[in-house]
């Protein structure tokens, strides 16, 4: 019997695969969406349109689940997130429309290049725990973007402010566009912009990025949904699998070395990017 002809085989495979992906993503500190889209798009029989729509819902659900805890503990900041979310969600609509209008092979080639680039960013990007911000810029003062949070490791209240706000806003135009076009969560880009460009403490950058994704991805998700690109058959087991996997991953986090897992995941991501690129070029179909 050919398993590939059985519908339940694909549901089971998707569920097991996304469950493992959820575990790995948490342990590596990477969003599930960025892994899901290139891997499922490269190795499963579904068209990239449906995979991208599911990828957005994966990023959206993960972000929605994490959001309440982050907001309550002050690790995600609404005043920081809202202006950036408005910019990124608007450009993600444009990204989704461009992605749906382009020929499949072009999207595959661009996605492959983007994923290879992202894996290099993940491998190379520096992070600053508490970046130095001498003076808050004018725009962030007008928007009153600043805050305090409790740093458990040092039992201290950390005060933070930001700078280079308009430069970050320009970068969020591109981030939203890429997220919408490729159906990727954009944590890989949000965190460096919030942390390194604006000078937000790493914990606030990671928390706000996670929260921000729900708004950015929601607008792009609606575009895919209203165009007929959202297939519950693929999306639901993927979303449930990755979220259950993430909850297991959180428990395993204490027992593994996240840096080792992160390296393995980056290599997998690089491989998926090369596969997607070669698929788009018609070399490895």
């Amino acid at each position: 019997m050919d398993l590939a002809t059985l519908w339940w085989f694909w549901i089971l495979l998707l569920f097991i695969f996304t469950f493992l992906l959820g575990i790995l993503a948490v342990m590596a500190g990477i969003g599930g969406g960025v892994l899901y889209t290139p891997i499922v798009g490269g190795f499963f029989p579904f068209h990239l349109d449906f995979v991208r729509a599911s990828g957005l819902f994966i990023a959206l659900s993960s972000s929605l689940s994490a959001g309440p805890g982050l907001l309550r503990r002050g690790l995600a900041n609404l005043r920081l997130a809202m202006p950036m979310a408005l910019i990124a969600s608007t450009s993600s609509i444009a990204g989704a429309l461009v992605g749906l209008a382009m020929p499949t092979n072009i999207v595959q080639i661009l996605l492959g290049i983007a994923i290879i680039f992202i894996s290099f960013i993940m491998a190379r990007a520096k992070r600053a725990e508490f970046p130095m911000v001498e003076k808050a810029d004018k725009l962030s003062q007008i928007l009153k973007i600043s805050g305090v949070y409790y740093e458990g490791s040092s039992n201290e209240i950390v005060e933070w402010k930001v700078h280079r706000t308009w430069q970050a806003m320009i970068l969020f135009v591109f981030i939203g566009f890429i997220a919408g076009m490729f159906g990727l969560g954009a944590g890989w880009a949000n965190v460096p912009v919030l942390n390194l460009v604006m000078g937000t403490p790493l914990k606030i950058a990671a928390g706000t990025s996670n929260f921000l994704l729900s708004i950015t991805d929601a607008s792009a998700a609606f575009i895919y949904l209203t165009h007929g690109s959202l297939l519950p058959f693929i999306t639901v087991p993927s979303v449930v699998g990755i979220m259950l996997g993430a909850s297991v991953g959180v428990r395993l986090l204490a027992k593994v070395r996240p840096r080792v897992v992160r390296r393995v995941v980056i290599v997998v991501l690089l491989f998926a990017g090369i596969r997607t690129l070669l698929k788009g070029l018609g070399i490895w179909v």
């Binding site: 519908w7 979310a85 429309l97 409790y150 729900s214 297939l231």
Partner: protein
Amino acid sequence: MGVIMKVEIPREQLIYAKVLRYGTIISLVTISVAYIVYIAEISPRYIEFGKLMENWGKKTHEFVKETNYPTGWSWLGLLWYGEFINLLLLAILAFLPLICYLAIIPIFVAKRDVIYLLIAIAEVIVLLLAASGVIAVGH
């Protein structure tokens, strides 16, 4: 032993968190149940799985043409089919940020925080525009 310090979180942030928490839990539980109902064929399927498998490798507009899969929000009239109940629940998930924004708009009004009130209203408009199905691509 260290003293745990408390940080004051703005009210709009706490309300956003509360709406999001309950919305997400309810959505994910109902979506899992609806999916089992769909694949177990307790509710009828709009596209038979055999036909779905033949067409899921095609680009969206070809898939829509081959399977007569509804676009926009026209599927809301077909909710007795398993896939569209699931689609509705996924759509609700995507509407959650919008619902959270609507919940915090009165707080910005009360605080007379005009800039964030305008940002929140603009975000609601962007999300509604995206959801409206008005913005479309030609093929």
